[in-house]
Amino acid sequence: MNTSQTKDICTEEFLINMGPQHPSTHGVLSLELKLDGEMIRDCTAHIGYLHRSMEKLAENRTYTQFIPYTDRLDYVASMNNNMGYVMAVEKLLNLEISDRAKYIRVIAAELNRIASHLIAIGTFAQDLGAFATPLFYCFREREKIIDIFDQICGNRLTYNYMRIGGVQFDLPKGIDEKIKKFIKYMRSKVDDYDWLLTYNTIFLARSKHIGLLPKDLAINYSVSGPNLRASGVKWDLRKDEPYLVYEKLEFDIPVGENGDSWDRYKVRLEEIRQSLKIVEQALGALPEGDPTVKIGRIHKPSPSEIYLRTENPRGELGFFIISDGSAYPYRLKIRSPSFSNLAVLPELVKGLKIADIVCILGSLDILMGETDR
């Protein structure tokens, strides 16, 4: 404890534990704050409370058996994790999948991106004190997406819908009317959030110029996803390294100006609108064909190494798979976006107040399941 001695006033810094159980740490994250009154001098993050050693598990599971585990990585956007993993294995086996499966994957992934961004926006507003009202609106909208997924693959959170070489089921009848109705409904709701939150003075005062992440610092920390785009870097894997059918679809990438918490929120809000556009186009151009695939056969890829990254709602999720010819991967490394996004936090928070650390953490949209693997 350094005690700053000015004449007779002796102020002392005290250590506060924003411990694993705290209402706004988005999962089990423990922050050790060194406080001088309300001012944060230093913050160290302790992670690993949710470490289930997914990579060790992967070494005892066949390629198909590991798919349900990828749901539990980023449990809010499990369609995107499934897609990332399954595409990596397909690249390992250099397997071609049918066009319809590609379109279905894009629709599912983009719908899950909207659901994940809705949670990010809802919890961000909750952390800033707008007690539960925006959160319930976001969960009300997310519920409609969950119902669509429930009809498509039978589960509400851990979908386990994608298979190596395709998807488990074809889209049920009448699902595209339901999705179209949702898109129209969601567009009006996003404008509501603009009125309710985006230009609200208290919201602006609390999140503008807080947690400024300059462009080069973001790249240096290999931050990715909406946090990187909010700092002004126009980098989105769906545009720069297109996979599946993204190059056929027309959408644009929202980019923020000065990388503060408000910009990260605004980029996520805009991305919801872009994802709605993508889903609409993909639904229109859905080709015929059979996307389903059997899972009885055990895949035994030839010994090789591949690295493939996809654009997750939280950033770039990468899979580094090394196969040795047997049915089990020799080594499976998961590059999780929240891990690098969280590394920036201690740097952004110096000199700010407790209320700001909660705001920055909410705007970075960390997810502990993915950070700790």
């Binding site: 386990n160 009125w195 899972i295």
Partner: protein
């Protein structure tokens, strides 16, 4: 100079107040939209036809091919069979509900769709032994049956 500052400040105040009022309009608008939450024990959400509840079995359809046991990522299924006048018969089919991650792979891989996932989702138990379910006895899910399927 001071006057410019005052004008700017009052302009910010007016814009700020207007943005706050816009927020209030939204909440009032939502005040009159009917509530959508379900009163849980009374109203229950019907499960979709692809919903993955508890694992269930048609014993007569099973051809004892062990595909489901092989594919299960958490090894929660176990079969034992015996030879009876040149025909294989299941003697034991155990399902460990506690480990099951409800991924639906056994249902997809079963050639004769003997094993399937039913619509029961209210599966809390008081002691651990009740999580080891013997899929062969027909009365296994009776007490949960009437709760979930309302």
């Amino acid at each position: 100079m001071v006057i410019i500052k005052i004008i700017k400040l009052s302009k910010d105040l007016v814009i700020g107040a207007w943005s706050l009022i816009k927020g209030l309009v939204i909440t009032l608008k939502n005040c009159f939209i009917p509530a959508i939450t379900l009163q849980y024990p009374a109203q229950k959400q019907p499960m979709t036809d692809r919903f993955r509840g508890l694992v269930d079995l048609h014993p007569e359809k099973c051809i004892i091919c062990y595909q489901c046991v092989k594919i299960c990522p958490v090894a929660c299924l176990a079969i034992a069979h015996k030879q009876e006048n040149n025909k294989k018969v299941i003697s034991e089919f155990k399902y460990n509900m506690e480990l099951c991650c409800f991924c639906g792979m056994c249902q997809q891989v079963c050639p004769t769709s003997a094993i399937y996932m039913n619509k029961i989702y209210e599966i809390s138990v008081y002691d651990r032994d009740k999580t080891h379910i013997n899929l062969l006895n027909p009365g296994k899910y009776i007490e949960w049956l009437n709760t979930s399927i309302k």
